[in-house]
């Protein structure tokens, strides 16, 4: 596990860019707090996704300029957002009716661990402290497609894609695609299926960094992202 990933792994922005390429024009999308929020910046030309935030805003605009914030107009991460033509406000029960009722096309979340069964752990390190779940457990069982953005391994080099999650679960069998710093991997019938990998890593090295079985798709593409991200 002492492979040096420094020069080959993708940045968070690059992972977000790759995930953005799969979002269809007109899709309704919820982006998790933090790193997944970057996906909004990288929509392919001519594509326009519509973003939902749990606290009751659909089709919102970009962040305001510093100093221009209106703190009644925020997203689920409590960051200031703006309205744009098409924006709608609604209450929390209507917002989660959208989520739970299967009306979102894609939810993109971060992860501590993803299992080859599609189980996700992303809300608790299980170490004590103050537990906080927010809307993650609703999103993973609501959106038509649940994708995860994550480093391929932890800071200590441990696999984040595992055969079975050891951390407290957010949801069971919910993740369908994982965008990592090294690969694009689908969860299918209880195994990880490798769709794309960064060119600088061998298959065997990638497997060694992945808990659980990594099956090759019939064609494994090169995962190439713009370098200036």
């Amino acid at each position: 596990m002492s492979i040096d990933l420094t020069d080959i792994q993708l940045s968070n922005a690059q992972i977000a860019w790759r995930a953005a390429q799969d979002i269809e024009d007109g899709a309704y999308v919820n982006l998790g707090i933090g790193f997944p929020e970057m996906v909004a910046r990288f929509q392919p030309k001519g594509h326009e996704a519509i973003f939902h935030t749990e606290n009751g805003v659909l089709d919102f605009g970009r962040a305001p300029e510093p100093g221009q914030e209106d703190w009644d107009c925020i997203n689920a991460g409590k960051k200031a957002i703006t309205t744009r033509p098409g924006t709608a406000f609604f209450h929390h029960a209507d917002s989660f009716a959208m989520v739970r009722g299967g009306h979102l096309d894609v939810a993109i979340l971060g992860a501590y661990q993803v299992a080859q069964t599609g189980d996700l752990a992303n809300w608790s390190t299980g170490k004590g402290g103050v537990p906080a779940v927010g809307g993650a457990m609703d999103l993973v069982h609501g959106a038509k497609r649940v994708a995860v953005l994550t480093d391929h391994v932890t800071k200590k080099g441990q696999p984040k894609l595992v055969d079975k999650c050891t951390l407290p679960l957010t949801g069971v069998g919910c993740v369908t695609r994982v965008y990592t710093s090294l690969a694009v991997i689908d969860v299918e019938d209880g195994v990880f299926v490798l769709r794309e990998k960064v060119p600088g890593i061998s298959l065997s090295d990638l497997q060694s960094l992945t808990g659980g079985e990594l099956k090759e798709a019939s064609k494994v593409g090169d995962l190439i992202c713009p370098e200036d991200l």
Binding site: G26, G86, A97, H103
Partner: protein
């Protein structure tokens, strides 16, 4: 993204035989008469229709029933000023009826749209409409378990729509329309006015566009009540 379609015919073109179709409205208020008539013209049959009522006179849902296209009604109140079309077919056994208390009907549709497969309500406990349904006691009081209701299509009437499908309604014509928008696989809306994106204040959107698939403009929609007072018959 523009959800507008050019014609009523196009809006309902793919509704298949055997489909379950929610139709908005309470009596004539909020009833999408033009979409219903387009569905009559389109020809789909063996339909299950979900509406509060079961048609009035010889237009709208009554006309759809009169044309022999409805296998089953799910409604709370299959009675009206002139309910003959439904009544005759029901008494002849040519149309099925699932009778649902009005609040339960509304809540089942909301549940369908909100991903809630079942819920408990005090309504209908101890009555014949609760027969065969699970009963559970919470805090000392008995409740009946009811299931969600979903549809293949919803045909709705709105006042304003923007190209993303954000909607407003007109007065009590709101009724079941916003609920049904959430509970159908494909939601089709006739709107009196299609306004540009941004033409509806974000605070005043009643149905956010995420629930809407198609919009067609019907600038001066017919009012079922007025059609019936004029003894209109469709087709």
């Amino acid at each position: 993204m523009d959800k507008t379609v050019a014609s009523l015919a196009e809006a309902v073109a793919d509704i298949p035989d055997g489909a379950t179709v929610m139709i908005g409205g309470f009596g004539g208020s909020g009833a999408p008469i033009e979409l219903i008539h387009a569905l009559i013209d389109q020809g789909a049959k063996d339909l299950t229709i979900i509406n509060n009522n079961a048609g009035n006179g010889h237009v709208g849902i009554a006309a759809l029933i009169e044309q022999g296209r409805v296998a089953k009604m799910i409604c709370s109140f299959p009675r009206s000023a002139d309910p003959r079309v439904f009544t005759e077919r029901y008494l002849d056994g040519r149309i099925a009826l699932e009778l649902v208390p009005q609040g339960t009907l509304a809540e089942r549709i909301r549940a369908g749209g909100a991903g809630i497969p079942a819920f408990y309500t005090p309504t209908s406990y101890g009555t014949e409409l609760a027969e065969g349904k699970p009963v559970e006691t919470f805090e000392g009081r008995p409740y009946v378990q009811e299931r969600w209701l979903k549809a293949d299509f919803a045909l709705l009437k709105a006042e304003e729509a923007d190209p993303h499908g954000n909607l407003t309604y007109r007065m009590a014509a709101r009724n079941f329309n916003p609920l049904m928008a959430t509970a159908a696989a494909t939601t089709v809306v006739q709107a009196s006015r299609i306004v540009p994106l941004g033409g509806i204040d974000p605070e005043q959107v009643i149905t956010p566009g995420i629930f809407v698939n198609r919009i067609v403009q019907v600038a001066n929609p017919a009012q079922e009540e007025e059609l019936n007072r004029a003894e209109a018959v469709y087709p």
